[in-house]
Amino acid sequence: MKEDEHLYVARSLPDALAALADRAHAAAPLAGATWIMRAPIRRERLAPAYVAISRIDELRHVEILESEIRIGACVTHAELAISLALLPECRALAHAAGNSANPAVRQVATIGGNLCASAFAASDLAPALICLDAEIDLETSGGSERMTVERFLEARTSVGPGCLVRGVVIPRAARRSVHIRLPLRKAGDYPVAIVCLAATLNANGIVENARVAVGSVEPAARRWKRLEADLIGHPIDPLRAAEKAEEYAGDFHARDGVEAPGWYRVKVLGSLVRRAVQALQEERVDVAPSQHQ
């Protein structure tokens, strides 16, 4: 990468890593660019240079394997929604990918870029990935590292220069998952709050395992462990789950924003949890007992 170059379009992963290493602290990865191109509106400075990774073929595939699903960092929201459409276990992620932003942004915005946008609290993908126990593969010139999505969201501002997200790995499981979002208008808005739920039920309809993730309420999405613990061991029950959610709402320190004050984001969580559990309940009929893990 030349010293005066503002954008270098990498053709392979080693090429991208070499270009990032060349410019050390001065260059940053660029995927779909939909977040970075809005930096001036947020009054943020652009990096002196960017290494575009969206043309790297190996970062643009979704592989559905027996034990896991591998998603390249430059898979777009639109591609993700199509690739996962027939996998009930990943319905939360497919719905998140297919309903965020608007169709033209979904054609370009990538999963890797979405997770790296550290100032973007309203990511639809982040809570969906957390509830699916997804992990992130990071690549540096010195080697690879894997961490949970939740851990990455906490650590992403301190990830060193020269490092890029290679992709996301989701373990396969016979779970059902849902993604519920509340925008102020029917579509096109950032959601006020997001609740994602993944669960496995036994043959008697008792919750054996549950993951609840909440997005857009705090600066980064995270699990709601107290609510998860309360769902496990009980029949799936939307009203009971909503009551518990309201009881535990104080677990969140919500952010104020132009579209909604913090108190409102917390206030709607009970309703969103009820809708999430109800949606999961309606999917239950498709699950054969032999599929449970």
Partner: protein, 152 residues
């Protein structure tokens, strides 16, 4: 260093910085002023163009990432003075008001109607989620799109 672009089926060279938004290059360098600059945030859709056939917000697309792709703007739709079927339907349904959103609406619908099989009113509304009309003329726009779909 110049960028090699293909815009409306013509090869063009741009001298812009590769991080320049595509919409600025289209308007300021090539005087293709159909794509409009309104929000610069990817919310309004007035700058929608097709990149390799897919609708994208050209305000959020660095021109360097459009190199090697086929860019189509609203100026490409009419051929030899004959409006495209979508443009013709918009005229017949008297949809155009201030015109600010229209280039984007046309590009989104051109792409959508090429791939859609018997789309419903709801399908068309979903396709237009990223195209805002400040004159709120949506219903006639959807009527026009449905008329194109029904004759396809």
């Amino acid at each position: 260093m110049s960028l090699r672009l293909n815009i409306n089926n013509e090869d063009r060279l741009s001298v812009s910085d590769p991080l320049t938004p595509l919409v600025d290059v289209l308007r300021d360098e090539f005087f293709l002023t159909g794509a409009k600059i309104v929000c610069r945030e990817g919310f309004c859709g007035a700058c929608t163009v097709l990149l390799d056939g897919r609708p994208v917000m050209s305000c959020l697309m660095p021109v360097g990432l459009a190199e090697g792709c086929a860019v189509l703007t609203v100026e490409s739709l009419a051929r030899d003075g004959v409006l495209s079927s979508v443009q013709q339907a918009m005229e017949e349904h008297d949809t155009v008001q201030c015109g600010m959103c229209f280039p984007g609406m046309l590009m989104t619908l051109t792409s959508f109607l090429e791939g859609a099989r018997a789309p419903t009113r709801e399908d068309i509304k979903a396709a237009l989620v990223g195209n805002l009309c400040r004159c709120t003329g949506y219903e006639r726009i959807v009527d026009a799109a449905l008329s194109v779909a029904s004759t396809a």
